[in-house]
Symmetry: C2
Subunit: 214 residues, 2 copies
DNA sequence: AATAGCTTTTGACATATATCAAAAGCCGTC
DNA sequence: GACGGCTTTTGATATATGTCAAAAGCTATT
């Protein structure tokens, strides 16, 4: 079935389109549609990669990574929603929000194999794909094209992170909120205000007031 | 000469050690010592990679990338210092500072081949290695181990960025300054205060006051 | 429909940081 | 060694955002 997407025919149209597929076909197909936008894998690589994908359906509130643990998997979100969070001075900080068609991971821990303060939890019942670091390392070594895929996935990640970094660096709370609405308006109705606020680096009260003045 | 470092014998000891080498042997050797901490390249890969390195000695103030341009090279700083910067509402923002033994690049532009507001300039007379995106792409395709190197370099980059992101997310100006002193104290004496301030996401006046109270 | 347990809003006030302006310090050059 | 052009500090004040507390709004359950 992954075959359907391999030619790139169905990749036109970006994220929205892919989400529709995930809804119809499930996480594995959605994942292959996603990675097809990065690299054309050989038949063998695709099979081997498929073999290490662990699909799972999990309820809202489920913890994918407990704070303080080592992140041994990354998760492709076929459907649902997750957040990466940690506690800073006793306050809950939302570090990242991952929507369908994107990846949830505690990136520093995953790359360094060291424990990290970050945890990951589901904000909605979700269908995911778990990929273990160990499996991935082996695939990297065996298949050049999967190594390339890894490079391109991280590249996409660093671009997103840099953009959020820029926002935090010198944009006002108002500007950051505006950018969020422009980029991913759907989050507003799916994520509690307090989490959105800390995602933006502000308090819930401030966000509420920003929202009040349009 | 690069051979000396290939066994990893000289990689023990981290950045400080590498800087000493760059001083003695020059940027190419320093670069190979740096990447040896990521991957053991084959003889052929090392030769081909060496062939595309463009060493250069440039004066303080030299512009490596003009704001608004496409970043077609990344630069390994063998000796010297650079900053990546942009203008936000007419104000000069220092986005990143690269010291000897690290890489200077406008990462979004380099990865997407799109123009970006960021520029790069030298803060000291420097000896660099320029590596073109085009050359690198070809090496990625031809050599699995260089593709891996690319993945690991970006991985190192995203870890650093995530750490700075965390700092900006919910640390006070004071905490950020403290972390800078703990991490790279040498910058204090080499970079004008205004640039350090905007690097930390605060104004020069605030940084000066923070400094005054120890 | 009343209760309980949430999330969100509003209010009063505190604080960190920014802004604008001027003074002080530093450094190389004539 | 005095001048001009920098960078850095200090001062007075403004502003955005945070904090703490209470009220209001939802939603599900009994």
């Amino acid at each position: 079935m992954g075959r359907l997407f391999s030619g790139g025919l169905f990749c036109i149209g970006g994220a929205g389109r892919r989400i529709a597929f995930s809804f119809i076909f499930g996480s594995v197909e959605s994942f292959f549609a996603y990675i097809a936008s990065f690299v054309r894998l050989s038949e063998e690589s695709r099979e081997e990669l498929t073999a290490v994908l662990r699909p799972m359906e999990l309820p809202k509130g489920h913890s994918l990574l407990r704070p303080g643990g080592v992140c041994k998997h990354f998760y492709f979100i076929g459907k649902g929603l997750s957040r990466t969070y940690y506690f800073k001075d006793g306050k809950d900080v939302t570090d990242w929000i991952s929507t369908e068609g994107s990846i949830a991971v505690s990136i520093i821990s995953f790359l360094t194999h060291q424990p990290d303060i970050r945890g990951i939890e589901l904000l909605e019942p979700s269908s995911l794909l778990a990929i273990s670091h160990t499996d991935l390392e082996q695939l990297y070594t065996r298949f050049h094209d999967i190594e390339r895929l890894g490079r391109l996935l991280i590249s996409a990640g660093i671009i997103q992170l840099q953009q959020r970094f820029d926002d935090l660096h010198f944009a006002s709370a108002h500007e950051r909120y505006q950018r969020l609405i422009d980029t991913t308006p759907s989050l507003i109705n799916r994520v509690p205000l307090g989490m959105i606020a800390s995602y933006l680096g502000i308090t819930q009260e401030t966000l509420s007031r920003i929202r009040a003045q349009h």
